[in-house]
Every structure is written in C-alpha cells, then in structure tokens.
C-alpha cells in the first residue's frame, strides 16, 4: 500500500476489516477450518489508491469533498489532467494521454464517443458513484487491457452488507467562482442477504472567472447522475450483484475548443457473480458481464461566429465480460483474469451550407469502427519472506478492428487504396517487480515490456480537427503496435514521525504514434493550418520521478509535500508535448477530534521543455494557495458534516502546460459543502 496519508490507509484497513467480519458472519463455513495453508504474509502491491468517498462516510478527509473526480485524480503525483473546459478533463498517467493509458470502471472497459476527446470516461461518473480510484503505473496496469502508461480503475461505491437497515445521506455544495450548485442524495437499505444502494447527484455551474476577474466564456455545465447497485447473497458464499449508472450532461461549455457539447449521456450497466470457494486455493472468483453506451453531441450554436454550422454526434457502445480468480498457493498470491470486450465507435459530421437549397455535406469522422479484444492476464505475487516479494505478470491479448461502414471505408481508401476493412493484432505484456520492506525502509524495482494497438482515432480517424495545433488529423490503419520497454525503481523510509518515498519510471517507446504534417494535403476544416497523418517515430523516451514526503509534527498536525519532475523527448531529441514541468505541492494539515483544516500551496515551474512542433508554447510558472476547514456534528439521529474553504486565495491568474490553448484556471473560489447522513 502506497503512502497516501496514514489516515487513508487506516480507513482502507477499516473497510477491509468490516468486510472480513461481515463475511465471517454471513458465511458460517469457518474460514479457519479450511485445509489450505493460509499465508499470513500479504505481499505489497505497488498500487496507489486515491480514496474518493465511503458511502455515508461523514468524516470528510478530502480538502473539498464534493469536488469533481478530476480534482480528486489530480492529487496523485502520477496523474496530470489536460483541461479543455470546467470538467471532463483528460487524465494523463506518467505524462501519457488516453491512447496510451487505460481507464476502467470496476474493471469494465468503456470508451468515449467524442473524436476531440471532450468526454474522457471520468466525465461520465460522479464522486457519488465511486469509492476509490486505483492507479497502477506502466505494465502493472495491464490487468484489464493493453496499456503503456498505466491504468486507473474507478471503483464503484457500495455499502454492501456493512450497515444493516436503512441509511440515507444528503450532500449539498456551493462554489462562488462559477456559482456551482451541487446537490446529491443517497438512500441505502441492507439486510443479511440483500442490499440496495441508490444515489443521485446534480451539478449546475455558470461560467467561471480566472484570476484577474476575467470571465471565461463558454465554461458553463450542467449534469445529473443517478446510480444504483444491488446485491443478493445466497448459499452463504455466493453473491450476485447488479449495478447501473446513468449520467447525463447538457449544455457543457469547452472554452478551449471551437465547439461545446449539447448532450453527453452514458448508461453503464453490469451484472456480477462472485464466489468464495470453501476450501480451495482460489479465494475469490468474480465474473462480470457488462454493457455501456455513450452518446455525445457537439454543438456550435452558442458560439458567436462559426464559419459553417455543423452537427457532430458520436456514439460508443461496449459489451464485455471478465472472469477473475484470485488465490493463494503456499507463498504465491495469484490472479488470473480472462477478459473480453466488443466496442463500436462511430462519429459523424454534417455541415449545413449557407444556401439552404444545397444538399447537406456529410462524412464519417470515425467510420463505424468495431473493436473486438480478448486477453488472458496472469499475475503471481510471490512472498519470498516477510519483507520481500517478487511479482510477475503477463498477458496476451488479441485485438481485432473492422471498419463496418462502406462509406467510411471508401473515405479512408482515398488515402490507403489497398486498405482492408479489418486488421488483427496480438498484444503481449510482461512485467516483473521486486519489493522489499523492513523496519521502515523500503525499495523496489521493476522491468516490463508491453504493446498497445492504435486507438480508433489514430487508426481510422478522418479529418479530425485538433484545435491545439490547428491541424486536421487523418488516421493510419497500417500503423504497427507501439512497444514499450519500461524500468522503474522506488525507495522509501518511514518512521513514526516522518516518511519519504521517491519513485522513478523510464519508458522507451518504439513505433511511437504521432501525427506528422503532410504538406501535399489541403485541410478540410476552415482555418486549419494543414493536415497531419498519424505515423510512427522510431522511438520516444519518457522519464518521470516523484518525491512524496510526510512529517507528523504532533498528533494533530501533519505536513505533506510532493515534488514531480518529468522529461520526454523523441528520437530526434525534439520535446514531446504535454510533458509536465517541475511540479510541487505542500500542505499543512490539522486535525483534532471533530475539526480539521489544511492550508496548501501548489505550483509549477516554468515550462521550458515545450514543443513548438506540436503546437505548445512556453507556459510561465505559477503558484496558488488553498485553504479549507471542516467540522462534524453528531445529533441524535443525524450526523452533519461541514466543509468550507477558499481555493486560489490570492486570486492568481494562471494557466498550466496542460490547459488546452492556454485557457486560464479558476481565480479565487469560496466553497461550502454541507452533508447529512441518517
């Protein structure tokens, strides 16, 4: 367990403890009487866990409890966010964007429906749906699919069988900067063999204001999210659980882009069967089938002047399943996961000529691409002794793409006359990690290799306009798989009073997929600078290192600090885009009985390693100051939690390296969250 605040670790352990106790009550088959050898050594997992919220959990540890998921994910040293608007930020893991990373919801694969990446997966879930986000760096994240940078698994929130009877909660929040109103509620019921959780969250925000009082136009959004999970346990050790999330955002502005979104709607459903065998090396066997569907419609009607009006809807549907078994055999803690998904991604562009008698102009920007992927993932975590472990994992996947639309296929054949409608790829992955932890001193190192397939846009995109570098991008179905060779190392020391952890990872990525301008082509988007075709560079290298420090002044006062450095260059020594400059964070946290408070400074150094070739410019350094305080009240039947604070106290005007087209971030923002639980 990575150090992410000793208190969070305690909560996580608490939850584990409750679940184990619960299981013991519900499954009379006494675990102790099993014949297998129970290994008391649990090897360390190099996973970072970001706790988002425990259902009906009032003790709000996070600075701003009702923040959007994006704000939560940003706390990690390994995650950066590309911002195009007020929310729906694209998470980057190890400085690598969506194409090279994997974001799943409870192990389910899900893909955005927007060609311009306005809808990363995080935009379709709410803090009320999730309990934590598990981050795995590099090939260790290859459990649910092929990745290079790593994976984030957003885990669903479920009270489960822990709080019997009826429970309810109401959350409200308000932020002054964008006049964001947040209201949410949760109603749960549980008895010994059945539980149902339902929750609802609604957000409405107007345009936000940047540091010097400058209003950022077209940054409004409104969304609601409703979800439910229900479980039924039978035969003492079997659980059947169904889950559904419906998320709908309307009128979402994207100040960094030429268009906004009129509708972003997702339905995420799953059915899981979990089985805890009675006496077997397999401790847990989980099988899940799922379906999700996303509709995304871009909208340019709110912009003052558009060269030509266009409708740009996109759809993404995914069916999938996985079957995962975890077990222990002597000192081996193993996982075997068979997973498969089928996705259909299609996006259109219809343009309306000024002369209404003229026929509409239509083309596919994603030509109805079907992806079918199946993989087997195996992991063995061997506890060598009580302070060291060696983890091996490997996966082999088959990735199949097909362009299903005849019109779409013919469009791409303009560029690739001999292109076939379908292509099959094999995606292997292998990783090994050693970790040691004794007397507070820990270290570890790892070596891994993996491949990923090009994304739908990289392989089959047709005139996708990128407003960052103002080029139209054309996909390339003949791209080879990207290969990544990575090494990582970490070292840490922990005492009662303080802890320090430093980690570094180095990626050598061959066949690095990137768009390169083709001077012979004329762009289609009015005002574009040219056309880029996706091609592969010989290789690129990315290096990230981060330092996490904690010092416990007293029982009540703690200091936390983070420092992150990144480096990224291609084989011709040109800077890669979206590589973070030196990043730092420092916070002082106070907690006594029911009161807690923190003050934090967060900033970036000047971005000197920027890439003009990819459309970047030099971003100046900045630092902002945040403050928050919270108090919890216990009445007879009601628990009440209050949290208030100020972000960017000094009202600094700033923009970061990952803000698309340099849109500025929020200026001073007062927030208040009030929550009740019954």
């Amino acid at each position: 367990m990575n150090h992410f605040g000793r208190n969070n670790f305690t909560i996580f352990k608490m939850k584990n403890f409750i679940i184990i106790i619960g299981l013991c009550f519900l499954f009379p088959t006494i675990l102790l009487a099993q014949q297998k050898v129970i290994d008391t050594i649990t090897p360390k997992d190099l996973t970072e866990v970001i706790v988002i919220g425990k259902k009906a959990q009032l003790y709000q540890k996070q600075a701003k409890p009702l923040a959007t998921i994006d704000e939560y994910l940003q706390q990690s040293t390994k995650i950066d966010m590309i911002r195009r608007g007020s929310y729906a930020w694209e998470p980057m893991i190890n400085n690598m964007p969506t194409e090279r990373t994997l974001v799943t919801i409870d192990g389910m694969r899900i893909f955005g429906a927007c060609t311009d990446k306005m809808d990363p997966i995080t935009s379709y879930v709410e803090v009320s749906n999730l309990s934590e986000a598990t981050l795995k760096s590099g090939q260790q994240g290859a459990c649910h699919g092929a990745t290079i940078g790593g994976s984030v698994d957003l885990q669903r929130n479920r009270a489960g069988f822990s709080n019997l009877g009826w429970n309810a909660a109401v959350n409200t929040g308000f932020e002054t900067n964008s006049k964001q109103k947040i209201v949410g509620s949760a109603i749960n019921y549980a008895n010994n063999s059945f539980y149902i959780d339902t929750d609802f969250m609604f957000r409405d925000a107007e345009n936000y204001t940047a540091g010097n009082g400058q209003e950022v136009l077209f940054s409004q959004f409104r969304k609601f999210n409703i979800s439910s999970t229900s479980g039924f346990s039978f035969d003492k050790n079997k659980l059947l659980e169904g889950s559904i999330i419906y998320d709908k955002a309307t009128n979402v502005g994207y100040p960094a882009l030429p268009m906004d979104v009129s509708l972003a709607e997702a339905l995420i459903t799953s059915l899981k069967f979990e089985y805890v065998p009675e006496s077997s090396p397999i401790e847990n066997w989980e099988t899940k089938i799922y379906y999700n569907t996303i509709t995304h419609k871009m909208d340019d009607t709110k912009r003052p002047s558009v060269p030509i009006h266009m409708d740009m809807p996109g759809w993404s549907d995914t069916f999938g399943f996985y079957s995962k078994a975890k077990g222990t055999l002597r000192s081996h803690h193993f996982i075997a996961d068979l997973n498969s998904f089928y996705n259909r991604s299609v996006a259109e562009m219809t343009m309306y000529p000024a002369d209404s008698n003229e026929k509409l102009m239509f083309m596919y920007t994603w030509p109805d691409v079907k992806t079918f992927y199946t993989a087997l993932f195996l992991e063995d975590n061997i506890a060598l002794n009580c302070h060291s472990s060696l983890k091996f994992s490997t996966s082999l996947g088959n990735h199949f793409n097909e362009v299903a639309s005849e019109l779409g296929l013919e469009s791409l054949r303009i560029f690739y006359p001999n292109m076939k409608a379908s292509k099959n790829r094999i995606l292997p992955s292998v990783s090994s990690n050693y970790s040691f932890d004794e007397n507070g001193f820990s270290y570890g190192f790892g070596l891994a290799y993996g491949q990923r397939a090009p994304s739908v846009s990289e392989g089959y995109g047709f005139y996708l306009f990128n407003s960052f570098d103002t080029y139209d991008y054309i996909g390339n179905p003949e791209l080879k798989n990207e290969n990544s060779l990575e090494t990582s190392a970490s070292m840490g020391y922990k005492t009662q009073k303080w802890s320090a952890k430093m980690s570094a990872s180095y990626f050598h990525i061959s066949n690095y997929i990137v768009g390169k301008p083709d001077a012979s082509l004329v762009p289609m988007t009015i005002g574009a600078s040219g056309v880029k075709i996706y091609t592969a560079l010989d290789y690129a290298t990315i290096f990230n290192t981060d330092l996490n420090l904690e010092y416990q002044f007293s029982d009540f006062m703690q200091w936390k600090g983070q420092l992150v450095y990144s480096y990224g260059k291609d084989f011709e020594n040109q800077n890669l885009p979206f590589i973070s400059p030196l990043r730092y964070f420092s916070s002082l946290n106070f907690k006594k009985e029911k009161f807690l408070s923190s003050i934090a400074v967060q900033g970036n150094a000047t971005q000197t390693q920027f890439s003009p070739f990819y459309g970047e410019d030099r971003t100046p350094s900045y630092a902002i100051l945040n403050f928050d305080a919270g108090y919890s009240l216990d009445f007879e039947k009601v628990k009440c939690g209050l949290k208030a604070g100020v972000e960017n106290i000094l009202d600094t005007y700033y923009s970061t390296f990952s803000d698309w087209n340099n849109i500025p971030r929020k200026g001073r923002n007062f927030f208040l969250n009030v929550s009740f639980s019954f």
Binding site: P307, I308, D355, K359, E410
Partner: protein
C-alpha cells in the same frame, strides 16, 4: 428400360434448345426507360435512357426500331443520327458517337449525344435518324426535349489556340464518398455540323467545396485518354457528400494550358468546371 433412363435427359435437351429460338431477354434495356417514340410511315423508333429524359450535357441513348406492320423489332439496321439545334441566326449540330448494336443478336442500338446547350422559348433541338435495312434507306425526324441540367455538366469554351472546345461530364452517375472512376469527354468544333473527339489531351481536375472554405480532396487523377477517339478516364476523390465544383484545366498534347486556371486563394474557381451534388 434403358430408354426410360435416357428420357429425362432427352426432354431436358429439347427444352434447352427451345429457349434459343425465343427473343433475347429484355435485360438489354435493364435500368433504361422509354423517353420517346418517333414514327414514320414504316417504322417506329423507341428512344431509351437511364434516369429520366434527355438534358443538356452528355446523354447515353438506346433505341429500338419496330416495323409498324409486323410489330417486330429490326435486328440488322445500320443507323446514323444527326441532332441539330435550330437557333435564331443559325443551325448547328453537336458531338455524337456512331450508333452501334449493343450485341450482334440483340435488338437495341446505342450511342451518345452531347447537347452543349439547352432549349429555350424560341430555340429547340431536333433529331434526324437515318437508317438502312437490307439496302433500303429510311429516315425520320422529331423535335426532342432538351431542358437545362440542374447542375453544370457540359462547358463550351474557346482555347488559347483559337479552337472551340466542348467538355462534358460522363461518369460517375451516382457519385459516392471515396475514390470514383471519373469519365469525361472532350470534343472540338470543326464546323457547324462536325464535332470530332479531341485526342491525346489532358483534362486536369481540382474538385472543391465552395460552401466549405473551398477545400479540395486528395489523390485525384487527371483524365487522359486510353484509346484514341474514346472518352477520357481519371479518378475523382470525394471526401464527403454535398455540392462539389470540379474545376477543370484543358491541356493539349504538348502540355500547354488551353483553358482553365489553377485554384488559389485569389482564384477560387476555374473558368471551366463541372458541378455535382449528392
């Protein structure tokens, strides 16, 4: 007994050979519809065309000749045709192909006519068909309806060499998104009644969408002739549906531009072009 075994086979053979004596199947006219009937005392000529009636531009026309007394179609006629436009000050013809049989055993004749201008209130086209059957010559003439085309399919111009040219769009009839095989024709005016095919020139194309920033498409192939006397072939690349203006430049065998301009920011369209909308 042996005979009984052979009987089905014999019957089958007889039936099969019977079908050879029937008239050829009607599929010679597949996709075509009758647009006109012209009659003289002895025969009726039926004119057929794909997709509606005649219009300004390139027209592929099929015809059948029926004997008025026997109601039988003539298989072995030699046909020529002369379209003439009757204008206020003069009469003139237009580019046309010879009329040939679709198949030796069939009843349908075909050819093309390029009407470089449309009729109007006072000026009209008529078609004179001369045909010979077994040494006897016949003729008939009728006024034909040639309205203007909705989109520009034919263009007439004087080249920098002083010669009067006609360029007409032939294919694709049904354009699709992607790379289309494009066919066009180039003729010149020799005199009022003679418009021969121009050989060995090049028709450069630059398709643009004027309603969308005048963007073009990649990987077009300029039109050239494969066989002398024939039409010109190339590739038309269309990235989306809608209205396209296919800007043209005509080059002679030496590579000199006789008419038409390259498209730039200052020159959004060429003086010669075709239009399609799909």
């Amino acid at each position: 007994m042996k005979f009984l075994r052979i009987l089905p086979l014999v019957l089958l053979t007889i039936l099969a050979s019977c079908s050879n004596n029937e008239e050829p199947a009607v599929d010679e006219l597949y996709g075509l519809s009758k647009i006109k009937e012209i009659t003289n005392t002895t025969h009726t000529i039926e004119l057929y065309k794909h997709m509606g009636g005649l219009e300004q531009g390139y027209n592929e026309i099929a015809l059948k000749i029926k004997d008025n007394t026997t109601n039988q179609y003539i298989k072995n006629a030699t046909v020529t045709w002369t379209p003439v436009m009757h204008m206020a000050m003069m009469n003139h013809s237009c580019p046309k192909s010879p009329v040939t049989k679709v198949s030796t055993d069939g009843l349908v004749y075909e050819g093309y006519i390029v009407f470089q201008m449309a009729q109007n209130a006072t000026e009209y086209w008529d078609l004179k068909i001369d045909y010979t059957i077994n040494g006897t010559s016949y003729t008939m003439t009728s006024v034909i309806d040639v309205p203007a085309s909705a989109k520009q399919r034919v263009t007439t111009f004087t080249g920098s060499d002083g010669v009067r040219y006609i360029a007409a769009y032939v294919d694709p009839h049904h354009p699709k998104v992607g790379v289309n095989d494009m066919v066009a024709g180039v003729w010149k005016m020799q005199d009022m009644m003679t418009f021969p095919v121009v050989d060995n020139y090049k028709l450069k194309i630059d398709p643009r969408m004027p309603s969308m920033g005048n963007h073009s498409s990649p990987n077009n192939v300029d039109l050239v002739q494969t066989v002398a006397g024939d039409l010109y072939n190339g590739k038309l690349s269309l990235t989306m549906t809608g209205y396209w203006k296919i800007n043209l430049q005509l080059l002679n065998a030496a590579g000199t531009v006789l008419k038409g301009e390259t498209i730039t920011d200052a020159v959004p369209a060429s003086s010669i072009y075709f239009e399609i909308e799909f």
